[in-house]
Each structure stands twice: as C-alpha cells, then as structure tokens.
Symmetry: C2
Subunit: 388 residues, 2 copies
C-alpha cells in the first residue's frame, strides 16, 4: 500500500454546490485512499463574506470536524464571516479591497503549497484574476464549476486553456453539470478528429418547456407550470432569454478554437423585445399572447416530421471559421435531440469519425449533486497531472 498523498485545495463559493462538494469529499475519504492513494485537504474555504484559512499549526489543513461545521453553518443560511473561529484557524474578510483582491489573496496562500487546487464553485467573475494567476504560478491548478470565467472575454479563455495551463485546468461542470461533455470534447480534440458541428439542448428548464409544447400544451400554461414547480428562475425570462444556454455553447465553441466573443452569438429569446421591460407578474399575465405563435411553429415542425427544440448549434466551416446560433430549431423527430423528453440535457457532436451518426451524451444537466460530482472527478484527474 502506498502512502496517502495529500492534495491541497482552496474552495471559493462554499454553500450550495461548494457545500455538496465538501460533503462528498468527506464521505469518500476511504474510497479516494484505496483507489488513488490520495487525500484532499482543505487549505481554506471562502464565500463572499470571508474565508477560513488553515494555519501551519493545524497541519495546513482544516480538520474534517471544521468542514462539517462549515457545511452546517452555511446550510443554516449564515455567512462564513459569522462562523465562530477556533484558534488554529485564521479568518479573513474582504474589507478594504475588492472581491477580486480578497479572492486573489486566498489564491496566493494556496500557491504556497505544491500543486494546490483553486476550486471555483462561485458564480462570479470576481474569481477571474485568481484563476489567471495560475498562469504565473505553476504550483496552482484550477477546477471550475463557474462558467463565467470561461464565457467572459476570449483573452481570458485563451489564457485558461493555453499550452502551459491546459493540463492544470478542468471545467467539466461549467457545461451540463457532471455529464462529461467537456471531457468528451477534449478527447475529440486530442484525437485530432475534426468537428463539423455540435448541437445541444443545454437547459433543463427549456427542455421541459419544449417537451410540454410538443405534447400539445399552451406556451403560457407550460411556462406557468414550470415556474410553479420551481424549474425556472424566479424571473422565468432568465431561462427563456437563452443567455445561459449561449454561455455554455460559447465554451464548447471556444474549445474547438473558434475565436468568438459572447457578442458574436446569435441568441433568440422565447419572448418578444417588448416583454423585456415588464414586471414579472405582468410578464406572466401577458404570456397567453404568445400561445398561438408557438402552437403554429410546433405544428409546422410536426408536419415535416420534425420536433421543435430550443437548441444551441455550433457549425464549423472547413476554413476554421463558423457560427454559433441559439434558439428554436426544428430537428428530425427520430434524431437523439428529437427524441429527447423532459428536463435531460443532450449534446450531439458530429466529427469525421462520428459522421454517419453523432457522438451523443445525455443526462441531468443541473443540480448540486451532479455539479459537485463533475468538480470532484476533475480534482481526481488533476491530482495525477504534472505540476508544470
């Protein structure tokens, strides 16, 4: 039996996905030791209010008991700055600097440990400078469930996936949670198999809505039902607008080397521009005005043996250029995307090898469990990559 190797990390965004991740890390100590000979050790955990950092006197690691207490503290809806700190732990608060400065100071502390992982389970662009710091500090690795750094400006994406960073960065859970779409696409790229297109349904909410329309429901009814069930954001336009779908598709397109900014993506929202300025109750009240139009579009697709989907489509041209379009698309009713039902996400990747039929991945694309699982699998992979 090999000695257990310690793999240090700091976590941005404890609570939600971050707490779920800590729970699974604690529950899988024995598994990670026996299968991989490793132990993930928390150098620090942070939310936007503050951070708990281990001190050398605490073996440079927050104890499992502390992590359990942090999980409970956050589950009770409290801020990390309100956590009662034991003597071996150093508390930090962001007072004075910007959120980015605060996160950067934690990243630098991580960088003092060999092969320390920055785990980003937040949903803010404020982590970008810290993640980019890994470009300068080869002792750092990056695992992100936060899609914003990868969907921000192209220059940041290029830094995070440069030849010197690529093997130290993983971001599976930025797209379709733990469903290994990023891993699959990375393998396609590595195998030099040229991609001609990627089509996908990247929103469980919109998948649910389109399934409902397909089954004959009125748009207004299906959206109201989705809202009642908590499938949509409090303002359903945050889902229906398609921007979140566009972010995910942008990340995949960039992985193919496409030089795209978010402003290059054509996004079709599922409501007319005049609905954008309404209050949420007004918006919900006026939804029935859209029912006829959706009914006609579904019928027109059916008449052609097709199913209407809210899909992202990345098209790659032989010259390396291409386009990224997000919106309503009629797809063959017996294709993988056409047979999709309910809230599952699905991706079709067409390549030279997968030309007759695409490579398809399908599964739940949201939820703290799946997202944390994707992060943890990334952490195990990075635990075995070179430091530099």
């Amino acid at each position: 039996m090999m000695t257990e190797r310690r793999v240090p990390f700091v976590l941005f965004g404890v609570g939600g996905v971050g707490s779920e991740l800590l729970k699974v890390i604690l529950a899988s100590r024995r598994l990670h030791s026996s299968l991989y000979g490793l132990r993930f050790t928390a150098v620090g955990v942070a939310d936007s209010s503050g951070a708990l950092m281990s001190k050398p006197s605490d073996a440079g690691e927050l104890s499992d008991a502390t992590l359990e207490a942090v999980i409970q503290h956050k589950a009770a809806g409290k801020k990390l700055s309100q956590f009662e700190v034991a003597s071996a732990i150093e508390a930090k608060t962001p007072e004075g600097g910007t959120p980015s400065d605060f996160i950067m100071s934690i990243a630098r502390e991580c960088g003092r440990h060999s092969s320390c992982m920055l785990i980003d389970c937040s949903a803010t662009e404020a982590t970008i400078p810290a993640l980019v710091l890994a470009d300068e500090l080869p002792s750092l690795k990056v695992v992100s469930a936060n899609k914003k750094p990868f969907a921000a400006d192209l220059a940041t994406f290029k830094t995070l996936t440069s030849v010197s960073m690529r093997h130290r960065v993983r971001h599976e859970s930025t797209v379709v949670a733990g469903v290994p779409v990023i891993a699959a696409l990375s393998r396609v790229v590595a195998s030099a198999d040229p991609v001609s297109s990627i089509s996908g349904s990247f929103s469980g909410t919109l998948g649910y809505v389109m399934s409902g329309l397909q089954e004959g429901g009125a748009f207004s009814e299906v959206v109201s039902k989705a809202k009642e069930l908590g499938y949509t954001e409090p303002d359903p336009r945050d889902d229906l607008g398609g921007v979140d779908v566009a972010r995910k598709a942008l990340i995949l397109a960039r992985m193919l080397g496409m030089q795209l900014e978010m402003s290059d993506v054509q996004v079709e929202p599922l409501y007319p521009p005049v609905f954008a300025s309404l209050s949420v109750p007004e918006f919900m009240e006026r939804l029935p005005e859209l029912d006829d139009d959706f009914r006609q579009r579904v019928s027109a697709a059916s008449a052609e043996g097709k199913a209407l989907r809210y899909a992202a489509k990345v098209t790659v041209l032989p010259d390396g250029g291409g386009s990224l379009v997000v919106g309503l698309q009629a797809v063959g009713a017996d294709t993988p995307l056409g047979t999709l039902k309910g809230s599952d996400n699905l991706v079709e990747i067409s390549t030279a090898v997968y030309s007759a039929t695409p490579l398809v991945l399908r599964g739940a694309g949201a939820g703290a469990g799946g997202t944390a699982a994707g992060v943890l699998a990334d952490m195990v992979e990075l635990a075995f990559t070179h430091d530099q």
Copy 2:
C-alpha cells in the same frame, strides 16, 4: 512557446487500428505541438511477425518517413518481418521464444525511456505479461485498445488498475471504441457516486439485427442481410453468441469493483446449442427455424410497450455484490436504449446522481477510426500524468 516534449511509445499490432493510429499521429503533429507542446515518437512498432526498433543513432525514434513506409507495407498485406530495414533500424523477430517473450523484450526496450507508453492495438492475450510489466517498471505507461487483457482473469485486471498502476493505464477503446464510456465511468467512480446499474447495447451487429426485427424483418433475413453487408464476422455466430458483448460488460462491471470472472457472466446466445456445431452454410440454412420464436418475442414486448434489445445489464447490490447478464431484454420503448436504432452502441449508467434518468453515451462502437481516436486521446491524457 514551450519546447516540444517528446513522448516515446512502442506499438503492438501495427496494421488495422495500429496503422490508423500511426496515420493520425503523423497527421496531427502540428496540433499536438501547438495545443499540448508534445510530440509522440515511435521507439518501435511490432506485429506478430517482427518488430522495427529505433537505434540510438536514429535519435531513439523511427522517422516519420519510416512510419509512412510501414503503414504502406502493412496496407499491402505484408508482414513486418518482410520490411526492408534501413541501417538505423534494428529488426527483431520472435524466433526461438514465445509471442509473449517477444512482446516482453520490446516492452523492456520501451522501459529504458522515461515515461514510455506501451500501445496495445493487438487482439491477443500474449501482450498481458508486457502490460503487467508496467507494475514493476514505473517508467512504463499502458494504453490498450485490446480488450483481452482487461477481460482475462480478474487478477490481471486488478494489477492493471491497482492504486500504483491506475494513473498510468488507459483502455478507452476496449469498450465501444472511442465513445468515452470508460472515461465517463472512471469519472463516476472518482466522484464517489454509487452506481446501481449499467445497461447497454455493445454490439453494432446485434443492434442492427434487433432494429431489423423491431421493424418486422424475419430473423433469418436480417442476419443474412447483415452477413452480406459485412456487418458480421465471417461466422455470424461469433457475433450472435454474445461473448464479445460479455467481455465489454465484464470490463465495466470490474471497474465498479465487482469481483467477476468471465465464467460468472450469464450469456444468452441468439441461437440454440444444437446450432453451435453446424458448418457456417448449414447454420445459415437452418436460421429460418428460429424466425417464429423471434417474431413472437418481439410481439410480446411490443404488446407491453417495450422494445426487444440484445443488452448487457450490470446490477449492483447495496452490499457491493451484483450480477452481470447478457441477452435478450425487453426495455421501455421510450427509454434511450428503447429508442436506439441501427448500429450505434449505447450505454445507460444509473447512479445516485443520475437516478431519475440515467447518464447516457451513444455512438459508433466499432471501426478503425473511432478505435484509434480513443487510443490517441488516451495517449494525450497519459502524456500529462505523473511518471510514478
């Protein structure tokens, strides 16, 4: 720009998948340099007749021109022992020893280079001692498209996936070619997400046959058509017997920690025992005797809203035990497996995270292109793992 890092390998099984792999490696030199800063260099290539090994005077690497010539030589149906050898290349033949001794001598030569990869594109158990050698020599890594070493005795599987070997071994193309089923399942295991079952259609040939039955074709007609089109082995019983499907499912079950030997797998062949001893023409002639039975089974499944599939099913019990059954199964007609058509392979993985709906991967599960792509993606991954 970083310096290009040389990643040495030896290839067992040049010709077929092995030749396809060499072609892609040669064609992707620029891509691998720009994205990953690496260059795969062939220390040697072998088939069952002999090997070409680089000499130190050849920079320890077979030149691209030599590899091109080897690809053409094999494409012409010739043995490697007939290859005209240039002075910088050392030719080896297996005369005297066993095939395993011969392969082992090549592996040892590979082991003299730091982080040298043994690439197994053969279809023989004779490579097993060489692959297992990597357990003793941490300078070796292993990538296998050959499923036999992983489906042989459990002890060999355990050695190849031990805590000291796991990060130096990849075998994506042993199951469903390049469709990243092994990568996906490895991630599920790493994320400590307990698997409850795996169901899959792992044979394009049997998928084609079952689709044909579903569409109303007679068993004898569908099998004859598949044979004519070259979809089956020359003796269709090699496909219809289910042993190849069982091997793939066994590898997945073992990845979950199930302690199974091949003899523990219940395999249902698609023909009765008395058909086993017939000649191929006799077998084909008597196929219509089975038509009625298949027609009835398809009808019975349809009557229950189900589709008949030739599937492998791994069931995991809460105590860690479980079973592996391969044969005809009636599955819900609107499940991913039920909607599958044609020769695509498909895997459904049900876990705690993927409980409402399974994680699904689908795509072409055979062909030299896909198989070589899976091997090359494995090679790129291993190029960035620790040496030891």
